[in-house]
Amino acid sequence: MSAIEIAQILDATYLVAIVLFILAIKWMSSPSSARRGVLVAEIGGALAVAATLCDPQVIQYKWIVVALIVGAAVGIPLGMVKMTAVPQRTAMALTFGSLSATMIGIAEYYVGYPHVTRFGMGEISLEVIIGSLTFTGSLIAAGKLQEILPLRPMVYKGQNFVSLSVLGAAVVLAIAMVVNPNLALLFPVMIAVSLFFGVLLVTPIGGADMPTVISLLNSYAGIAAAMLGFVLDSKVLVIAGALDGSSGFILSVIMCKAMNRSFTNVMFGAFGQVQAKTITEEEPRTVRSASPEEAAEILAAANRVVIVPGYGMAVAQAQHKVRELFDILTRKGVDVAFGIHPVAGRMPGHMNVLLAEADIPYDRLLEMEDVNSDLPQTDVALIIGANDVTNPGARTDTNSPIYGMPILDVDKARTVMVIKRSMSPGFAGIDNPLYYMDKTLMLFGDAKAFVGDLVRELSAVQGTPQEASGSRVAGD
């Protein structure tokens, strides 16, 4: 076969892979077809890798095989992490993805040197800048999510100015290199500055903003891959990168809308969104608290219960206990649903995955709009580890920093129960008027322990305590 024929066969294989990739995303529209999507995507990936290994340009194999084995040896354990660790795993995946794209971009420059064209230099610079900043940004995000680094926002005066100056420096270096692509000394400086910018980009961002940030980094990683496709003139990379880039972008827009943030705010990686909080001294207000017995009685008497989980549920590892509560209430004939806010947790869809892992049927996991129309007819809204997404101040208090943010209207339910450790304000430091309403009962305690107590009380009423233990052992 001639070289051209081989190149055409390879291109055709890549085309098949891309079609399978697109089908895979399309089938993610429903949980019933999604696994088929993963299967075809795996076939597509395997075809593309196998075809590339047959490419006559590849003249040495030994080390490639070693690298593939190393990759698999790292990838498999990263695919086996617990569902609570999925946000940091995703951040690590973005780190690896952008590392890979950056390494190839750097190699392309040195392979082409000193014959890199100005146009090619522009493409390489853009690709390497985006890849580098995504690399360090994702690494910082992973560190924060793993809580190696502090999750609180780290801010200082003049931060935006410093960050944008660093980005500006990277752009200036890129322009200098486009003017003269043979200024090889500037290339590593440009990379270092971009890596530094990635650190500055993500360091100021706090835990509650992680869903937006991780989507945004996902988008950047996709764009880096697409740019690499331009550099290497490879359509398969352009398309795969465009798919990943738009998917991350759409998710960031969804997250943004769910937090009522502006578009510019997203584009600049949530710069300047940490508002100074004015602590207003108010007269002490009273809250009503309830014991597990009292709460269990109310739950047992309800017709419909909506459970609103938040990151606190994940921290307390309470999802398996919540499933026991779900089971026992369902057996008692109570209609139980879950209200999932788009930004609940640390990444898009985080709560759904945790609850699905705990064996809660996904048809009971409802989106915000669906739950809000039901809440006025709901007897009990039980909030487990969520705070700001239930704050009615977002609807009514124009002075609230979260004013305008869409929330779950739990205050419209007949009774509201909030499982919370103490009265300390939530992550954003915003007081929640929900807690002082007459129909609200505060259930003070650890989420996992309190839900366990509720289950025990409910099964004591029923007189069959062994049922509550269920068939599965709670996680960890």
Binding site: Y14, I22, I25, M28, S29, P31, R35, G37, V38, A41, G45, A51, L53, V58, I59, I64, A67, L68, V70, G71, V74, G75, I76, P77, M80, M83, R89, A93, G97, L99, S100, M103, I104, A107, Y110, V111, T117, F119, A221, G222, L228, G229, S234, V236, L237, V238, A240, G241, A242, S247, G248, I250, L251, M347, P348, G349, N352, A356, D359, P361
Partner: protein, 98 residues
């Protein structure tokens, strides 16, 4: 401007629109597996890494290429693996009772 640049721009823009249409239809239930799936698809960068490492042009390009092969292949394997694992957990009430 290289001859293929504009055709790549065509492909990029069309793929972007297509992605917008199909990602919009992804159930919010599955946003977490969507991220891990698109990460795995993005790992197709491994094909470029294999070429860079396999062409054996300079020691530097081989080393960089091999790092890229390992990093992106770990994403491909791990990404598909965790996506499938996550999706297996999504069951309806009926399937659960069986």
């Amino acid at each position: 401007m290289p001859p293929d640049f504009l055709s790549n721009v065509y492909v990029f823009i069309l793929a972007g629109f297509l992605a917008f249409e199909i990602v919009k239809r992804v159930s919010p239930l599955l946003h977490t597996p969507l991220m891990s799936l698109t990460n795995a698809l993005d790992a197709i960068v491994v094909v470029a890494a294999i070429i860079i490492a396999g062409r054996h042009e300079s020691r530097l390009s081989v080393v960089l290429g091999l790092i890229a092969v390992a990093a992106s292949f770990s994403n491909m394997v791990g990404g598909f693996f965790i996506t499938d694992r996550t999706l297996r957990m999504f069951k309806t009430g009926k399937a659960k009772q069986q």
